[in-house]
């Protein structure tokens, strides 16, 4: 999946259909559009409430050829519809020259195309997974539609997982004004810009990414630090000490923190039982005073790093660490020893952090990725949104 870079800051969104298609009944269109929005509510806390008039987050129109946004439609076939990312307003336009149909293999299925366009309205770009709803090509009518895992991961990386809290949809949010887009800001205190070495980084079960440094933590956006951070770790995770060595979130939704010879387990922000416990008890075969830990996207196993070595831990196996471990970190081509952090990020890539630099790892090639600018790259610029800091470690690139 791919993210455009903006998202709504509220999860209770409103919409209105200001221009209906000429060939379908309004009530049928209302129902299909509501169903298309519901696709994105299933796995997140997003809610979509229709309004007859007035300001809304997403405005929907069925128009033909040139319709005022400079991106004219082209008659039947070709471009079916387009939508704007949140930073550009979030509206969705459908080419009314198409033969929009409901529940039929004839023509173009309104529900599927609408659900796709609303993905853009929420901040998703096109995916290169052909089975994804967010793939750019219309695949014809799909009588048994189901949201692809790729799409679920995408929307949850922006709005978090569903927390099953009850959020009545007929309640209008206190303000229905469009949230203004605010450009990324440098962190309130820019110590992290002067010294961007971190203790650890991890992504929570809710899809939020955090950087820990000393007694403080930073919540990250897609390209910088969220407003209002850093905050104290002791406030964010009561009972958790400062100067954490390593952390990761496992597929059971729990986050594990490691420091010295001990570890803590949290469910969200709450300690999940009596901790700390000894690493030797809960993670047999894993050393203490770790450098980094992560769940690798390549196989879902837990990897621990210390000095020039790494261990693979499989909770389902006995023993959980095979006799062939530890192995040299040099197996991970291009990854240095003595890491600070390892992370499987929300875009599915694996990242390693050391000092003020970071490396993106290409899982399929099992080597540090090659890109422009090359890796390692300065963490300050790319993760903390620091200004006036280099975006590349390439010599002379200032």
């Amino acid at each position: 999946y791919a993210l455009q870079g903006s998202r709504w800051r509220v999860k209770n969104l409103t919409y209105k259909i200001s221009k209906y298609p000429k060939r379908l009944k309004r009530s049928d269109v209302d129902a299909e559009i509501a169903r298309a929005f519901a696709v994105w509510s299933e796995d997140t806390d997003l809610t979509f409430t229709r309004k007859a008039a007035g300001p809304v987050h997403i405005e929907i129109k069925f128009v033909e050829s040139e319709h005022g946004d400079g991106d004219a439609f082209d008659g039947q076939g070709g471009t079916l519809a387009h939508a704007f990312f949140p930073v550009f307003g979030g509206d969705a336009h459908f080419d009314d020259a198409e033969l929009w149909t409901i529940g039929s293999p004839r023509g173009t299925n309104l529900f599927q195309v609408a659900a796709h366009e609303f993905g853009h309205s929420l901040g998703l770009s096109h995916s290169d997974q052909s089975s994804a709803l967010m793939a750019p090509f219309y695949r014809g009518f799909d009588p048994v539609f189901r949201l692809d895992e790729d799409d679920k991961a995408a929307i949850q990386s922006l709005y978090g997982r569903k927390t099953n809290q009850y959020t009545p949809t007929n309640v209008y949010p206190p303000s229905t004004q469009r949230p203004a887009f605010t450009p990324p800001k440098t962190p309130l205190d820019d110590t992290i810009c002067k010294d961007s070495k971190v203790d650890t980084m991890f992504t929570s079960a809710q899809g939020d990414t955090y950087a820990f440094k000393g007694d403080k933590y930073y919540k990250l956006t897609t390209d910088s630090v969220e407003e209002g951070y850093p905050q104290l770790i002791s406030k964010g995770w009561p009972g958790l000490p400062s100067n954490i060595d390593a952390a990761f979130t496992y597929k059971n939704g729990k986050t594990y923190f490691f420091k010295g010879t001990q570890y803590w387990r949290y469910q969200g922000r709450q300690m999940d039982g009596v901790y700390p416990k000894e690493i030797s008890e809960g993670f047999t075969g894993i050393p203490d005073h770790l450098d980094a830990a992560m769940v690798w996207g390549g196989n879902g196993k837990i990897y621990f790093f210390k000095g020039s070595k790494f261990w693979r831990f499989d909770p389902a196996k006995r023993p959980p660490v095979k006799a062939s471990y530890p192995k040299p970190i040099s197996n991970w081509e291009g990854v240095p020893n003595n890491l600070d952090a390892a992370l499987k990020y929300t875009n599915g890539y694996t990242y390693f952090f050391k000092g003020d630099k970071y490396y993106r790892f290409h899982d399929a090639r099992f080597a540090v990725d090659s890109a422009v600018p090359p890796f390692p790259r300065p963490t300050a610029h790319w993760w903390f949104g620091c200004k006036n800091t280099p975006s590349s470690t390439a010599v002379g690139d200032h």
């Binding site: 791919a2 993210l3 455009q4 870079g5 991106d71 439609f73 082209d74 008659g75 039947q76 076939g77 070709g78 471009t79 079916l80 519809a81 387009h82 939508a83 990312f85 198409e98 033969l99 023509g107 173009t108 195309v113 796709h116 366009e117 853009h120 770009s125 096109h126 290169d128 052909s130 750019p136 090509f137 219309y138 897609t222 390209d223 990020y345 875009n347 890539y349 990242y351 970071y358 993106r360 610029h381 790319w382 993760w383 949104g385 975006s391």
Partner: protein, 88 residues
């Protein structure tokens, strides 16, 4: 759905690749088409083929034009390089 926008010529492919973010916007203007060099053209086709899951030949072959002719969403596949920071 009928296709009112089949791609069967290089010029149509240029406009398509520019519309969806594989070539600079200038290529959408027929008067300026053909101004970019061969390397840019081949890499644009390769990028589209890679994104669409086709064999990456760098050539405007029949399979590629067939996919370019499918009905699709009008949003660009490549959303600008300005936010490459988000690709960390």
């Amino acid at each position: 759905a009928a296709n009112s926008a089949p791609v069967s010529t290089t010029t149509q492919a240029e406009i398509y690749l520019s519309q969806f973010g594989y070539l600079p916007a200038s290529a959408r203007n027929p008067a300026s088409s053909g101004l970019h060099d061969q390397k840019t053209w081949v890499s644009a086709i390769q990028e589209f083929q890679s994104f669409a899951g086709l064999n990456i030949t760098g050539e405007l072959d029949e399979e590629t034009m067939k996919l370019m002719s499918l009905p699709r969403c009008g949003v660009r596949d490549r959303v600008g390089t300005a936010d490459s920071r988000s690709k960390r």
